[in-house]
């Protein structure tokens, strides 16, 4: 009985956090509400005896991803979201659509009866060892694919956040020798001439030319 009361407490926290995510006006409060929801979900994973997923949920989600969100919100400053959307009936149509969706899912769930949960050996189920057996055995190929995905995401984030899109900032001259020839062409013409006229950038261009020759 105590564990059911605990479940309802955690479930109420999770749903309150979810309501906070969509109702608060300031993005920083949205992010903190989502942190609360994720911690509650981590406790639910523990109730489901998924120990490793519980730890990963706290470390990766609330520890890394949410801190990244907080960092970006703090970097970009407070956003204003005063006016309504361009669509006329937007404000009540969207919650109505959400309620209809919830009713669909609810009707699907309410028609089912479930067995009691399968008996599992809780010394094995959900531990790091048993997860590793699956992850490095039968599911090794998807696991390696996710590592490639993470590598692509990291390289893409570095490329995107380096600021090649920005025009005429004082950092451009410093970055000129690091830039590849493709990002040079994205800059305006006068910036390109200014960069080539600096000796460091000319040396950098020469280096890239030398590198390209053996490849071709």
């Amino acid at each position: 009985m105590a564990i059911q009361i605990f479940f309802w407490f955690v479930a109420a926290l999770a749903i309150l956090g979810g309501v906070g995510v969509i109702t608060f006006r300031q993005p920083i409060k949205n992010v903190l509400s989502l942190v609360g929801t994720m911690l509650s979900l981590a406790l639910m994973f523990l109730l489901l005896s998924a120990q490793f997923v519980f730890v990963v949920q706290i470390i990766v989600y609330t520890g890394a991803v949410m801190v990244l969100f907080l960092f970006v919100v703090a970097l970009l400053g407070p956003a204003r979201e005063d006016r309504a959307g361009h669509l006329r009936f937007h404000w009540w149509l969207a919650p109505l659509a959400g309620l209809v969706f919830l009713a669909f899912v609810w009707s699907m769930l309410s028609g089912l009866t479930y067995h009691a949960a399968a008996p599992v050996n809780l010394n094995v189920f959900g531990t790091v060892a048993s997860i590793a057996v699956g992850l490095f055995g039968q599911y090794l190929f998807p696991f390696e694919l996710t590592s490639i995905l993470l590598l692509v995401a990291a390289v893409g984030a570095i490329y995107l956040s380096r600021g090649g899109y920005q025009q005429g900032s004082p950092d451009d001259d410093k970055q000129a020798e690091l830039d590849s020839p493709t990002t040079h062409s994205a800059l305006p013409a006068e910036d390109r001439e200014a960069e080539v006229s600096t000796p460091a950038a000319a040396a950098g261009a020469n280096r890239t030319d030398e590198k390209e020759e053996p490849g071709a």
Partner: protein, 120 residues
């Protein structure tokens, strides 16, 4: 032939309450409510950062369903899938936030309807 460790079905050495006394449907209902909240957030909110946050909320709801069925069926594959979903969600958040930071550097955006550069 599934791995015997993946399907640790028998024995039942220790059966501490947990999901034995909480029906799996409760977890599914919580997950459905969270997913619907995330959907409404994506539809209602105008700020692109908040829309990304709502997508994270929906992915978390899906993870709860996966782990709940993993416990219900006594099969670890649901938890493995939840871990892969976490990796994909992290990559999505990183790329989405990097794009937003790059756009915010040029101009302030407080409405996703203003982000129409890719329309051509």
């Amino acid at each position: 032939m599934p791995d015997p460790v993946l399907l640790a079905g028998d024995a039942g050495v220790i059966q501490i309450g947990s999901a034995g006394s909480i029906p799996v449907s409760w977890f599914l209902v919580v997950s459905a409510i969270l997913f619907a909240l995330g959907t409404v957030g994506v539809l209602v909110r105008r700020n692109p950062i908040v829309i990304l946050i709502c997508i994270e909320l929906m992915l978390n709801a899906v993870n709860l369903t996966l782990v709940a069925f993993s416990r219900q069926l006594g099969n670890l594959e649901g938890q493995l899938f939840a871990l892969l979903v976490m990796v994909v969600a992290a990559a999505e958040a990183v790329i989405g936030l990097a794009i937003l930071v790059d756009i915010f550097r040029v101009r302030d955006v407080d409405d996703v309807d203003e982000l129409s550069e890719l329309r051509g």
